[in-house]
């Protein structure tokens, strides 16, 4: 059944409100200046979270996507917004992580006393809201060019966060990130141009009904995919990520690793599962799966060899992103194991977002408390920072894929899907990745749990440790997700479109 996705549904206005809330926040922050950006950002977080929950509720109730045609003008001439199961879930995840980052960042990015307005404060709060706005559009956008503008918004917001402290190495990392991201966007845009040239529309739903397997479509899809892979830092286009995420301040790294790279991945899903399901995509899915496997192995091995905690966590992101791309071979097609693969990919997205954010927060707290983030000098640190290391342990549990945790659910579902689909080869990187992840988590925890004398430069505040711990516990709680959660993720997924069997 192809749902009618071209006309506004009664609750569609929620989508516009969800996008406009952080945008209004940016404008207010900019005009009011001074200490207002922090307040605007913090006060808007509960509303954003409420909107995300409302959208999820309506999607669940209707059992199909909610739609809004902007200006009342339907595609192809106008722009449509659509929220389906995965949109709603990602909106909630983004709201939670952004809220957590906002509260965590108050320590470092509140305007200092006696100063009317500070550079890092204004920048951080505006960029955080911009990231939130851009991600919202990415999760509910239905028009490929609109999504391009959202990708640019995301890049312009993320890059200044990388170099917000002004050190030369962060400036170089930010510059490299910017150039990779710009290459990614322009490659994506070129693909959009070809799609428009071939079918006269950029609306995802309309394109899905019109595409056929022609050379133009394959070229356009390849261009868009390469661009999105560069932005998602999939091996071998991952070089920009570790220095950028490791050298950014902890609150920024959490959002960058947890959410920003997931935005371009989400669009890759939209492209292959929503625009192009009518095409024979098996070979491309296999290529993406191989690249993902390479990312898992390479990223984990390099993570094992890192001396700095934040670099280790950043390379772990490179590895965990590889798992995401196993969705492609495991969820393509119309058989029942496709739904398992789909659930697995989304669960990995969510579990990694929360676990990684928690780990970066912990790394930040640890670095401030100890004055450094050298793994070799962590001896006995768990005794003086128990809550922080508990968070790292729980986050590590999810990254390793040990039960109970969201990470375990994700990897278990992936194993199930590979075996059920006869593609048992994928079990090898999944299991190897878990072993290697156990290796690098052990590297952090073993010295910390050992006997060693270590002194704190300053004790971290309990509330910040609690924020990090809360995110880690969400990652664990995802492991208990009921079947209704996985059914919710299936809402709106087109898996029988066009001339498939």
């Amino acid at each position: 059944m192809i749902a009618e996705l071209g006309t506004t549904t009664p609750d569609g206005y929620l989508l516009v409100l969800a996008i406009l809330l952080p945008l209004v926040g940016i404008i207010l922050s900019f005009i009011l200046g001074g200490r207002s950006p922090e307040r605007v950002a913090l006060y808007s977080t509960p509303f954003g979270f409420a909107l995300a929950c409302a959208i999820a509720f309506h999607v669940g109730q209707a059992g199909k996507p909610i739609v809004y045609t902007i200006g009342g003008l339907p595609p192809p001439l106008g722009i449509a917004l659509r929220a389906d199961g995965i949109s709603a879930v990602m909106l909630i995840a983004a709201a939670v992580i952004v809220t957590a980052a906002a509260f965590y960042a108050r320590a470092k990015f509140a305007t200092p006393h006696g100063v009317r307005e500070s550079r890092s404060s204004l920048t951080f709060w505006i960029m955080l809201q911009a990231i939130w706005a851009a991600l919202t559009i990415i999760f509910v956008g239905g028009d490929l060019f609109n999504l391009y503008v959202a990708l640019e918004l995301l890049t312009f917001a993320a890059v200044p966060l990388v170099c917000i402290d002004g050190r030369p190495e962060t400036l170089a990392a930010a510059l490299r990130y910017l150039l990779f991201a710009l290459f990614g966007s322009i490659s994506y845009l070129l693909g959009v141009a070809l799609f428009y040239g071939a079918y006269g529309t950029m609306d995802i739903w309309l394109l899905a009904q019109r595409v056929q397997a022609t050379p133009v479509v394959w070229t356009a899809a390849a261009l868009m995919t390469v661009g999105l892979l560069a932005k998602t830092a999939l091996f071998p286009l991952h070089l920009w990520l570790p220095p950028a995420h490791a050298n950014a301040p902890a609150a920024a790294s959490a959002v960058l690793s947890g959410l920003v790279v997931k935005g371009s991945f989400f669009l890759t899903l939209r492209l292959w599962f929503y625009v192009l399901p009518a095409l024979p995509t098996d070979k491309i899915a296999a290529v993406l799966g191989w690249l993902g496997s390479a990312a898992i192995i390479a990223g984990s091995i390099i993570a094992l060899r890192q001396a700095r905690l934040k670099l280790l966590i950043a390379y772990s992101t490179v590895a965990q992103i590889g798992y995401l791309f196993l969705v492609f071979p495991l969820a393509t097609g119309t058989q029942s194991w496709g739904a398992i693969g789909w659930s697995a990919g989304l669960m990995q997205l969510l579990a990694h977002a929360f676990a990684k954010a928690a780990m970066f927060f912990s790394a930040g707290l640890l670095a401030e408390a100890l004055g450094h983030d050298q793994i070799a000098k962590l001896g006995g640190a768990a005794r003086v920072l128990p809550l922080t290391f508990l968070t790292i342990a729980l986050g590590g549990l999810s990254l390793m894929g040990l039960p109970p945790s969201g990470g375990f659910s994700a990897k278990w579902l992936m194993l199930q899907a590979s075996i059920a689909s006869g593609q048992w080869l994928w079990t090898l990187p999944i299991l190897a990745g878990s072993l290697l992840a156990a290796g690098y988590v052990y590297r952090i925890l073993a010295p910390a749990l050992s006997d060693g004398q270590i002194s704190l430069e300053s004790a971290p505040k309990r509330s910040y440790e609690a924020i990090a711990l809360a995110l880690a516990m969400i990652a664990i709680a995802l492991g208990f997700a009921p079947q209704t959660f996985f059914d919710f993720l299936e809402i709106g997924r087109p898996w029988r479109l066009g001339n498939h069997d």
Binding site: Y13, T123, V149, L153, G197
Partner: protein
């Protein structure tokens, strides 16, 4: 009799030639100057492609303002005391990437040639909507930008603001709040002052005219705003006006007025016209022009600020 194909081939050859020069030039500054020249040639290509609005935007923004930006950067970088000797990549890598580039270009060229015939187009839909959603605007591109796809345009204005904040954020902490420095000249030379005094008033009038006629003829807010921005830059470079402090309230309001007004009308549309970003039918054209006026203000403020760079504590460079 057709001279045109020859002229077309010559134009294409020139564009490619200057582009190749830009990539292969040894000197950084020469490459930048080549790029600016290439941008002007591109404006001619746009005219040949029946895209006068794009030609205006390319000449004003793509080549004009970008040119000022890149030349300023090129001069500053060229003046580095010890520029690190650029490590030339090994020949095998050059060949490999060259092959990759040729493959990509070839695939793209083939895809362009294989685009379907008859070509799909939204021109009929745009023509049909011209009187309803299109607010009776005579310039269909303005209708697309300000009505059919106004959401994109509003987002793009915000992207501009975000870029301004990003540029400001790379300044030093202690310089925050003061004025930027990149457009400051060591001293105002007499020819520059003369140029500013003669050119600026004319340029401002032309810019406003281009914005106003954009409703029914080639032109519009971006093109007009870019010209006004250029005039403001000329005035600042001639030191007839000082670069503003970045914490100046008027500057902040000017920068954000475009997207703010857009958002206000966009939100109001839900009540007055039944949908966000819709316009009430009878008032559509005046509302669009009103929003565009503030967009011009935003663009006039944003483009020079993007070129002027982050705030700087030194009184002069």
């Amino acid at each position: 009799m057709s001279l045109r194909p020859f002229l077309d081939v010559i134009l294409a050859g020139l564009v490619l030639g200057v582009a190749i020069f830009t990539i292969t030039a040894r000197d950084l500054f020469a490459a930048v100057v080549g790029y600016v020249a290439y941008g002007l040639l591109l404006a001619f290509v746009w005219i040949r492609l029946y895209a006068p609005d794009v030609a205006l935007t390319e000449a004003a923004v793509g080549s004009g303002v970008t040119g000022v930006l890149l030349i300023t950067a090129g001069k500053r970088l060229g003046a580095l005391k010890n520029p690190a000797p650029e490590a030339q990549p090994p020949l095998t890598l050059k060949l490999l990437i060259g092959v990759l580039a040729v493959l990509v270009a070839g695939a793209l060229g083939a895809a362009i040639l294989l685009l379907p015939d008859p070509p799909p187009s939204l021109a009929p839909e745009a023509a049909a909507a011209a009187d309803s959603a299109g607010a009776g605007l005579g310039n269909p591109i303005t209708a697309v930008l300000m009505s059919y796809r106004s959401f994109d345009t509003m987002l793009e204005k915000l992207v501009l603001i975000l870029a301004v904040v990003g540029v400001w954020s790379v300044g030093a902490d202690k310089a925050w709040g003061s004025a930027p420095a990149e457009l400051r000249q060591p001293k105002a030379t007499a020819p520059m002052v003369f140029l500013a005094q003669m050119l600026a008033p004319v340029g401002v009038l032309i810019g406003i005219h281009i914005f106003w006629t954009g409703a029914n003829a080639p032109g519009g807010a971006f093109q007009g705003g870019a010209l006004l921005a250029a005039m403001w830059m000329v005035i600042m470079m001639a030191q007839l006006a000082k670069l503003p402090r970045i914490d100046a309230q008027w500057l902040r309001v000017a920068l954000v007025s475009g997207p703010a007004v857009f958002l206000i009308f966009g939100l109001a549309g839900e009540v007055t016209a039944g949908s966000f970003f819709a316009y009430p039918h009878s008032l559509a054209k005046p509302i669009i022009l009103f929003i565009e006026a503030f967009m011009v203000l935003s663009i006039t403020a944003a483009l020079p600020m993007l070129v002027a760079g982050p705030p700087s504590e030194r009184p002069d460079r």
